[in-house]
């Protein structure tokens, strides 16, 4: 009996360990910073110039945020992986971290590995000058994507970014065009200080300050989490305050907010009591728009890879490339839009 228990326990433990291990190997790109650049150390000794690798492939080191962070990042990472392939003439190494210092360390590693291009989506805006100077000395070209940094523009070739303030402005303009007699807004913010939060909050804050009939019922950060958003809206509903707009700075938080509305039987969507606004254009969110349950979704374009590809192969035309971004209205969205723009 005791033996049986021991066997069961040990097999369970081994199973858990094996499961954990296989999971680890699958997620190496996110977990292990050493995995990507190791093969480069041998290359460094044989090819001390910054010329393309012997087999004609362009070596790129891609530093990105953790793909688990959001649907946006997942789509962005997939797009990068689909573009920078051997078929397209690239030899790509990836590094992922949400921490700025880890990213900088990885950039140094990539410089030692003598990549041709360094593509960076920085976690933080500061601290990059030193490593970018190193890159410049080594003749490595730097292209920023998605996020900008506080460094001298001469240190990088180009940056491909979303204009978050413009995204917010488009949404606020759309909201203003609805001509409500009164705007009572529940504003659910992303992680405070992130560029998406600053841009999307800024446009709304300005409008509320400027217009007499616009007011904020509550303004809270749910840190991109649907459960926190749900709790925030639940608290507003329980306190008996009325509102007619939910302005959530991403789709997941809008979803959480809507779950709270559903519990309290507050109707939402096209022609209903509460207008629901989300951002990022997840496929499921656009489907909610198509069904008329939400009113507006602002795009945050994650597909920078083709822009970068173009710059690498055809040269720089503009220093700062601002990507085209749309906003979708539930009354005009089509199934094609969902298929084309959903991430």
């Amino acid at each position: 009996m005791k033996k049986l228990v021991k066997m069961l326990v040990s097999s369970a433990v081994i199973g858990a360990m094996a499961f954990g291990m296989c999971a680890c190997t699958q997620t190496t790109p996110t977990a292990a910073p050493t995995a990507a650049p190791t093969d480069g150390t041998t290359a460094a000794t044989e090819a001390p110039t910054d010329a393309p690798a012997a087999d004609g492939l362009i070596k790129v080191g891609i530093i990105n945020n953790d793909p688990n962070e959001s649907g946006y990042r997942t789509a962005n990472d997939r797009d990068m992986k689909a573009t920078f392939t051997e078929e397209n003439g690239y030899e790509a190494s990836f590094f992922y971290s949400l921490k700025n210092e880890d990213q900088i360390a990885a950039a140094q590693k990539f410089i030692q590995d003598e990549v041709d291009y360094l593509l960076i989506s920085a976690a933080g805006t500061s601290g990059w000058d030193g490593v970018l100077e190193q890159a410049q000395k080594a003749g490595i070209k730097v292209i920023l994507f998605d996020r900008t940094i506080d460094a001298d523009p001469s240190l990088y070739e180009a940056s491909i970014v979303s204009d978050m303030a413009k995204e917010g402005q488009q949404a606020v303009d759309w909201l203003a065009s609805q001509n409500l007699s009164e705007y009572k807004i529940v504003h659910i913010q992303g992680v405070m200080g992130s560029s998406a939060q600053i841009g999307r909050s800024g446009a709304l804050d300005d409008k509320v300050a400027a217009e007499a009939n616009w007011s904020i019922v509550t303004q809270q950060t749910a840190e991109w989490s649907e459960e926190t958003a749900q709790q925030i809206v639940q608290a507003v509903i329980d306190s008996g305050e009325t509102f007619n707009v939910i302005y959530a700075e991403n789709d997941n938080m809008a979803k959480g907010a809507v779950a709270a509305l559903d519990k309290a039987n507050i109707s939402h969507g096209v022609g209903k009591d509460v207008i629901v606004i989300g951002f990022d254009c997840n496929t499921w969110a656009l489907e909610e728009l198509l069904a008329g349950n939400w009113n507006y979704d602002g795009q945050c374009n994650p597909f920078q890879a083709s822009y970068i590809d173009n710059i690498i192969k055809n040269g720089v035309t503009e220093k700062v490339v601002i990507m085209e971004e749309k906003g979708f209205d539930a009354t005009t969205i089509t199934a094609d839009d969902v298929a084309n723009y959903g991430i």
Binding site: M17, G20, S70, Q220, A222, E226, A235, G240, A264
Partner: protein, 381 residues
């Protein structure tokens, strides 16, 4: 003289009763609950001149069912996950003398597992089949989380790694594993039936998570009453080697406590993903491990292991949610809420620190000594 003595003795018994109440382990969580209730009542009367905080109404939801709503319902509903975690965390704390900090990440794994199974089934399958899918998904999530719990437990019990360090592994890797399970997809389940378990079942006005929690609480109460789990884990927590000499295997008990926590985590994950029918791997159940540990601490349990009071821990969980909801209602910025919780933690830790305990004991001894001296003086006179 005899009258005086009577007065003194009756005074003592009142005092004795009071000190019994104060020293009861349930005192801190119940007092905290009462404090919050009084605070909310006052705030309501001062700010809105009514008592809307305690109002509970029966209204139709968007699906047309009559459902209960109000702050108290919200608190009981939202505290469900925390109460479930408090059960497992109390056992782990008691047996291993440490805490599991990977529960948030393991909730992500359990939730992701459930969504992985459910997402393949569209809304046009019959209720019976859908129930089958849900049951399969739920059972699989329980097995998966129990395995991860066993992994933590094995590190703690067999490799003698400190619980916090051992669970740091999954704390770091868990959310990546959760994302990997679903190939990093941003999943949203369209079937409204999936939302029943985190919201309301049609026709029942009480939130489903409350029922799930009550069932789990009954189960754990029965287990504690009719098995030796309480005795064994307390014995192991107080002194592992002496319990081993008495025929209890400390390793098995520690492992078991982590597995039970794993099962609690699976139930939590199920409720969490059902609430919004979706998952964000990086933030689902964010920082919930801290709340769960705080619940155990609020329950007056020794975080170093040994004796425990399950009721107090569970009450502690409700106190934390009460605090959170109160702060949301006061429009405290949600990023500042953890700071308020930190204040509670600091107060608790200071109150239970050896320094304050010694100081309190000294004060008591001094008072008794002074009394004794006075009595001696009187008798001499």
């Amino acid at each position: 003289m005899s009258n005086n003595q009577k007065a003194i003795s009756s005074g003592n018994s009142v005092k004795g009763f009071l000190s019994k109440v104060v020293h009861n382990q349930l005192f801190i969580p119940i007092a905290a609950l009462l404090l919050l209730v009084v605070f909310n009542a006052f705030a309501d009367i001062l700010l809105h001149s009514d008592t809307s905080f305690f109002k509970i109404v029966l209204e139709p939801s968007s699906t047309g069912n009559m459902v209960l709503s109000g702050n108290l319902i919200t608190i009981i509903d939202n505290a469900s996950e925390l109460a479930l975690l408090a059960i497992g965390m109390t056992l782990v704390t008691s047996a291993s003398g440490g805490q599991d900090i990977s529960v948030g990440a393991t909730i992500a794994i359990a939730g992701s597992t459930i969504l992985r199974i459910v997402k393949g089934y569209s809304s046009d399958i019959s209720d019976g089949k859908f129930a089958g899918v849900i049951i399969c998904a739920f059972l699989l999530a329980i097995v998966v989380s129990a395995l991860f719990g066993a992994f933590n437990g094995a590190l703690v019990a067999y490799f003698k790694i400190q619980p916090m360090v051992a669970t740091l592994i999954l704390f770091t890797a868990g959310r990546s594993i959760a994302a990997w399970i679903n190939n990093n997809d941003n999943i949203s389940i369209n079937d409204s039936r999936f939302g029943y378990f985190g919201n309301f079942i049609p026709g029942i006005p009480v939130p489903t998570p409350v029922f799930i929690t009550v069932i789990c609480l009954i189960v754990i109460a029965l287990v504690l009453k009719f098995t030796n789990l309480r005795l064994y884990s307390q014995a192991v927590g107080i002194n592992a080697s002496s319990s081993r000499l008495n025929g209890i295997n400390p390793k098995t008990i520690k492992l078991l406590s982590f597995i039970i926590l794993g099962i609690c985590v699976a139930v939590c994950g199920f409720i969490k993903v059902s609430r919004t029918s979706s998952i964000t791997y990086a933030v689902i159940a964010n920082n919930i491990e801290m709340d769960a540990i705080l619940a155990v601490a609020l329950g007056g349990n020794n975080l170093g292991g040994g004796k425990f009071n399950m009721t107090a821990s569970v009450l502690g969980a409700y106190v934390i949610q009460f605090l959170t909801t109160t702060l949301f209602r006061m429009k405290v910025s949600s990023s500042a809420i953890s700071a308020y919780k930190a204040i509670v933690v600091i107060l608790l830790i200071i109150m239970s620190s050896p320094f304050i305990r010694k100081w309190l004991a000294d004060m008591k001894n001094k008072r008794l000594a002074a009394k004794a001296e006075a009595r001696v003086g009187k008798e001499n006179a």
